[in-house]
């Protein structure tokens, strides 16, 4: 009898392992960014501020990750020693190709988000949602959900969806929770287009 029960238990354990360890590993596809970028160097050594690249336009839109023209302002030619910069100048600036960044926080096309109203009106700091990435020295791998195609940052790092920080996860519930907390109306059209 006891022995028979073991078989049941075995099945249970195997499945739990598959579900909690193997599945999450298989679910996400890791991709390296086309180019390494150090926020650290740019704001410490080059003494740039966030707004140099991530700025608002007069029409209320946010630049997000700047286009090549921004990089070109300094990197028309190689000015440093890093191989990554060499790559930037030779493969992108000189050939005038936009850098195909993999955007961690990229929302799907059906979602509308106004940085202006959150930053200018609600005075939310950038790292509240994006985390303190301003001082990082390198870019982590981009993880793509093989089924939904979303960046892992949207669903949050934990498969359970439990947030470890305010910037861990950017899906609808995260937005809704914050809106509810500050009783901002949660109507669909606020965030959908």
């Amino acid at each position: 009898m006891k022995f028979q029960f073991l078989w049941f238990l075995a099945g249970l354990c195997v499945m739990l392992f598959v579900g909690w360890v193997v599945f999450p590993y298989l679910l996400y596809e890791r991709k390296e960014e086309p180019l390494q970028f150090s926020h650290k160097i740019h704001n410490e050594t080059a003494g740039m501020s966030c707004e140099n690249c991530h700025a608002f336009k007069d029409d209320g839109r946010f630049t997000g990750i700047p286009t090549l023209s921004k990089c070109r302002e300094c990197h028309t030619d190689i000015i440093g020693t890093s191989p990554q910069e060499k790559k930037l100048v030779e493969e992108y600036v000189k050939q005038n190709r936009e850098i195909p960044w993999l955007v961690y926080a990229r929302q799907p096309q059906n979602t509308y988000f106004s940085h202006a109203s959150h930053v200018k009106l609600a005075n939310i700091s950038c790292d509240h949602c994006h985390g303190p990435h301003g001082t990082t020295d390198s870019l982590r791998a981009y993880e793509r959900n093989r089924i939904s195609g979303y960046s892992r940052d949207i669903g949050g790092s934990s498969i359970t969806g439990i947030k470890s920080a305010s910037w861990d996860g950017m899906n609808m519930n995260d937005c809704a929770d914050c809106h509810n907390k500050h009783n901002i109306p949660n109507t669909c059209l606020k965030c959908h287009k």
Binding site: F56, K57, D58, D59, G60, R61, Q109, N110, Y112, S114, A116, S117, K120, L121, P185, T187, C188, L189, K190, H192, K193
Partner: protein
Amino acid sequence: MESNQNKPRYGMVIDLDRCNGCGNCTLACAVENNIPPAQPEENERTGITWMRVYKVDNDKPYPENRAVYLPLTCHQCDHHTPCESVCPQKAVEYDTETGIVAQIPVRCLGCRYCMTACPYHARYFNWWDPEWLKGMETTLNPDVSTRMRGVVEKCNFCHGRLQAARAKAAVEGRRAIADSEYIPACAESCPTKAIYFGNLADANSEVSQLAKDKYSFRLLEQLGTEPKVYFRSEQPWVHQKMDTKLSAAAKENAHG
């Protein structure tokens, strides 16, 4: 539902005597809202035209036959919004901020119950996956998402334009937008200025003035859904055909 005090309630007044049925509104709408061109098999009943111009005539024989062109779009019903209450999964929502009735295609499961509920037939189903000719997909409007087959869609007064206007205001530190900052594509594109758009909650706005005009009427007003799209015509037969208050009053006078 919270009170809509001093919140805008966007609406339209369409002057039928000015409409020449050119179809600019339909096209401007399609361009603005990324509505794909027709599939070969598509027809008048399966096509997608958020803003649709009907030819309405007085049922008289030639040469007494008269007609007006009637641009028909979602009426953004204010009260007991028929489509909203029927959606099983909240893909339809009355936006208390603006009075606009939202349709969220990504939430929609395509049961089409809302379409049977809508008295104006202003809701359209994606019977096909959207397809654009090669290269044409580069002309899509980034402020509006494309839809997929099997979902319902409809007019939302070019909400993308409202969001853009709000963002602009936000950058300038303003919380509210001026009426002049927001106008849907159809109204903007009308060459004869037949479509007036604005805030009905503001008693002084051009639209609310026109809506009060004795020649203005609403379709199926008796249903009591308080649509926010008004029509206007000084031709008596139009009022008879649509049996409006005005024609009813006229009948009264005729009888005694």
